[in-house]
Amino acid sequence: MDEDREKYNLKESQSVLLEHIFRQMYAPLFFYALKFVESEEVAKDLVQDAFLNILKQKEKKIDNLKAFLYRSVRNNCLNYLEHLRVEREFKAAEIERSAREIQFYDTHQTLVEKEWQQGLKKAVDELPDKYRIPFKMSRFEELKNKEIAEKLHLPVRTVETQIYRAMVILREKFKNKVLTLFLGFFSKK
């Protein structure tokens, strides 16, 4: 009986470690999966599978754990979309778009990591009023462009341009940093 237990359970220090990894990585991975699949429940399952993949790596050594987890989630998302395609539960064009977006990130990094989203928050607050106000109304108050236009007494097109400009400014700010951090992250085996 005791022997069975020993076989069943990871040793204490190892499970502490595993929990630590899990808690650190879960939210960004979940967020990452949500970029490509709409349902939160599906995203959760896909992330779970990625962590189980760690245990399934028998003899193989995992070189970069972060990359391994992201790659697992990536593959799981693609497989899931493929499954949707087969089942025809979803519009083909949208599946195509999501799949294409996933592959884009094979060579480009996203802002999923915690430090980036905090930096982004700061950067948003530093935007000039003209861009910040419509962007925030749009993103945080979830107002329609028309509603923002009315509030700010501006044409809708202007509001759209300002929201766009806000994002372009943010993009310039992050572009170089983000791209260098994880370069080679998804390098294929």
Partner: protein, 373 residues
């Protein structure tokens, strides 16, 4: 990079999900026509999504997902039950990861025992006509009212402890800043430090009431698909009332519960609801007289200015009877009083004194009718 106003508009509206199928086709034709366009689009989408990171991961439920993973991990491990070598190899892999993680995260990990052992829950079900007191593993106390069900973990070791409630319970929770304690019901989630409060959330009742006696709690919730956007913080003697069918959340004081103002409030409420387009709303008003809401735990059924039909629902659970009021006027009559050791007959008799009615009782079924002249 200069791009056409049309595409600026389409990109922004695509991100806001305010775009027609036809426009999407147009947009993506443009996006895919040039690698720079595609890059731009994904970068903007990334920024757009990341700006709402906190909201997006709100439902990640890391604690329960960890529990789920722990169970799956045991299953996975047990597949290799007889192959000890493989298992060891497996553990080695994890250890290899260890060194890496410490470097990667730069954080020491706590020496704390957690484990893929199945999180086991204790559960207390209290039938109608009874009440029960439960001592939680950390010494906190919960009183569980008639017809209620509470589930709690067998140990409170985690950083986050979840209690599940259907029905009504009064909590006296010991303060422990090191852990988060949540009381979850089908519609709301209450986060607790050390505190005393009452929650009433019966599935068959439209109203969910949370009454704080002292300490502080914060409430989040979900009514249908609508989330309460900001957590609601209660101060002592405040009460949050959620009306499931109206998508409304209010914090009430006692004056709002008195007879005349009820109708006014309903009107005002419906106007405001209209304005808010059925977004959950919240009001904070005055001090609540908490006694009628919590004294059931001391075996007292206290009611103040309560409608007879509402009181009847409480009495049904309290005495395990069924009460049928056959007259509309009687239903809206108001009562104030306390039942303590009264039997159901004595209670009904007492009620019939201040407001004359006749009743018939057969087994557990009581029919109440207006007194005929």
């Amino acid at each position: 990079m200069k791009i056409d106003d049309l595409y600026i508009s389409l990109i922004v509206r695509k991100l806001k999900n305010d775009i027609s199928e036809h426009e999407q086709v147009k947009l993506f034709k443009w996006v895919y026509s040039d690698h720079e366009n595609e890059k731009l689009y994904y970068h903007l989408k990334d920024i757009w999504e990341t700006a709402q990171y906190d909201t997006k991961i709100k439902n990640a439920n890391i604690d329960s997902e960890w529990e789920r993973f722990a169970l799956l991990a045991i299953e996975e491990e047990s597949k290799h039950f007889k192959e000890r070598k493989i298992l060891n190899q497996n553990l080695k892999t994890v250890l290899q990861i260890a060194a890496l993680v410490i470097i990667t995260f730069g954080v020491g990990f706590f020496v704390r025992k957690i484990i893929p052992e199945k999180a086991s829950y204790s559960s207390v079900k209290v039938p109608y006509g009874a009440r029960s007191e439960v001592l939680l593993p950390d010494g906190s106390k919960v009183w569980v009212n008639s017809g209620s069900h509470i589930k709690y973990p067998a140990d409170f070791k985690g950083k986050e402890v979840n209690l599940f409630l259907e029905g009504e319970a009064y909590f006296d929770i010991k303060k422990n800043p090191k852990r988060k304690l949540n009381v979850k019901t089908s519609s709301i989630n209450i986060q607790v430090l050390g505190t005393k409060f009452n929650v009433k959330s019966y599935n068959d009742e439209d109203v969910v009431e949370t009454t704080l006696v002292n300490g502080s709690i914060s409430i989040t919730g979900k009514i249908g698909e609508k989330l309460i956007k900001e957590p609601i913080y209660l101060k002592p003697k405040e009460q949050a009332v959620l009306i499931k069918s109206q998508n409304a959340v209010e914090i009430l004081g006692p004056e709002k519960r008195s007879n005349n103002q009820t109708d006014l409030r309903d009107e005002k409420e419906s106007e405001e609801l209209e304005k808010a387009k059925l977004q959950p709303i919240m009001k904070i008003n005055g001090e609540v007289d908490v006694e009628p809401f919590v004294s059931w735990k001391d075996n007292k059924l206290v009611f103040r200015g309560e409608r007879f039909d509402e009181l009847a629902v409480k009495m049904e659970r309290w005495y395990n009877v069924q009460i049928i009021i056959k007259d509309e006027e009687l239903k809206s009559a108001r009562y104030t009083g306390i039942f303590e050791k009264e039997t159901i007959e004595q209670a009904i008799d007492a009620l019939s004194i201040s407001l004359p009615f006749t009743y018939e009782m057969e087994k557990n079924r009581i029919e109440i009718e207006k007194l005929k002249n």
